[in-house]
């Protein structure tokens, strides 16, 4: 029996294979929706490592060669991309800065629309180099119709006044300069006085009687007296009031309404000084 089987093994094997084929076809016909997932997965699990290994053996030398060839190109590409990246960063930064500038200019134009028609917009181009003086230089001058004593303001309030005028530049003396004095008025109590510069980022409300009603929080505006500043522009807010022991003297500290540290544009109003040339 065994001898017969061994002698006819090829035939038996062929028959077995045919039987398996038939079985597969019959099974498929009787189970049309079956996917044999487990079988497929098993075969994949067995086969894929082999496939990968063979594939790797075949493709490794080629890939290595290609990688070496591409290394040079990649370096060039990286350099090019780095430069492009830097350029885009720079462009983005410029765009952001332009966006901020645009917003600021829009704001400035909106404010200018509320001011007298002859008000001029000026950009600050330099600050005073001395620590004892508070002034800055703006980029418009007599060619733009500016004269000495023209009031300079922002949307926040009074900045100062023009003290020197050149053809294309002018110097603005800030409220905080020790040589600056502006007639002021307490909005709440209607008490008049003079806003004096202290040389620091603080003002003083002087020439006020010790018994006058001035409280911290009061807003001081220009009173229009003195003939330089129009009436009603904010000068500052009272922050502290100190009286001497005998009650005869009083010191009133005022915080300027304008933040002088962040100014970039200002408005110059036409001079109303009747004594100016």
């Amino acid at each position: 029996m065994l001898k017969f089987f061994l002698r006819n093994f090829p035939r038996f094997f062929l028959a077995l294979l045919l039987l398996v084929c038939v079985w597969v076809l019959v099974y498929r016909h009787s189970h049309p929706n079956s996917q044999h997932l487990s079988l497929k997965n098993l075969s994949m699990a067995v086969w894929m490592p082999v496939q990968k290994s063979v594939s790797w053996v075949i493709t490794f030398p080629e890939n290595t060669l290609n990688a070496v060839q591409e290394l040079g190109h990649l370096r060039q590409e990286v350099n090019r991309l780095q430069m492009e990246n830097q350029s885009l960063h720079l462009e983005l930064s410029n765009h952001k800065s332009l966006e901020v500038e645009l917003a600021r200019l829009r704001e400035v134009l909106q404010i200018k629309a509320k001011l007298p028609h002859s008000a001029k917009i000026a950009r600050i181009i330099a600050h005073d180099p001395s620590t004892w003086n508070k002034s800055f230089i703006i980029d418009i001058g007599s060619e733009d119709g500016l004269t000495v004593d023209s009031p300079v303001i922002t949307e926040q309030g009074v900045v100062g006044r023009i003290i020197d005028v050149a053809a294309k530049n002018s110097r603005v003396l800030l409220l905080t300069d020790t040589g600056s004095s502006v007639a002021g008025l307490d909005v709440r109590s209607r008490v008049s006085g003079v806003i004096l510069g202290t040389g620091q980022n603080r003002l003083s409300f002087g020439y006020v009687n010790a018994d006058e009603d001035i409280q911290p929080g009061d807003t001081i505006v220009s009173s229009g007296l003195g003939g330089v500043f129009p009436k009603g522009y904010p000068l500052g807010t009272v922050v502290k009031r100190t009286s001497s022991d005998n009650g005869l003297n009083t010191q009133i500290d005022v915080a300027p309404s304008v933040d002088f540290g962040v100014l970039d544009y200002v408005f110059v109003l036409p001079s109303i000084n009747i004594f100016a040339d």
Partner: protein, 160 residues
């Protein structure tokens, strides 16, 4: 044409001093320049530097022309003379010198303004003086650090 490097320094200092609002912080860069330049030259040259710096500062300032010229010239001379008494290439030595010179300069300018009748009241002047001295000294520390650390040793007679 060769432009002296000191002149370029001078231009750079005033450019920075005027554009960035450094004055608002109370920093007197021209004084730091005068002090450090004076430390490295003789008295006449230091005085000339002080005079030049002071003149430019007064010309660009809204105040009257004079206080900074006088003060900076004096500071240049004092800085130059101090070479004999201090070892200059140390950060704290230079900083202390800048502190003293800043203090002296501010007091001197206040006296000049007082003499001229344009000085602020003493209480305000004291505030400006203290603020300027402290901020200039603080800025001086930074400047002196770079000057000492990155000075060119081969031109430095103190270490040659």
């Amino acid at each position: 044409m060769r432009i002296p490097k000191e002149l370029l320094w001078l231009l750079a200092i005033f450019f920075v001093q005027q554009t960035s609002g450094i004055t608002d912080w109370g920093i007197d860069l021209p004084l730091i320049f005068t002090a450090l330049a004076g430390l490295r030259t003789n008295a006449p040259k230091a005085a000339a530097w002080g005079f030049t710096v002071g003149t430019v500062q007064d010309l660009l300032s809204s105040g009257w022309i004079g206080p900074n010229i006088a003060a900076k010239t004096l500071m240049g001379i004092l800085s130059s003379l101090s070479q004999k008494h201090i070892y200059r290439e140390k950060i704290h030595t230079q900083t202390f010198l800048i502190f003293l010179m800043s203090l002296f300069q501010q007091f001197f300018i206040w006296l000049l303004l007082k003499w001229d009748g344009t000085a602020p009241p003493a209480s305000e002047a004291l505030g400006i003086l203290i603020h300027t001295v402290l901020m200039t000294t603080a800025a001086g520390v930074v400047v002196c650090f770079f000057v000492v650390k990155f000075r060119r040793r081969r031109f430095d007679p103190a270490t040659a």
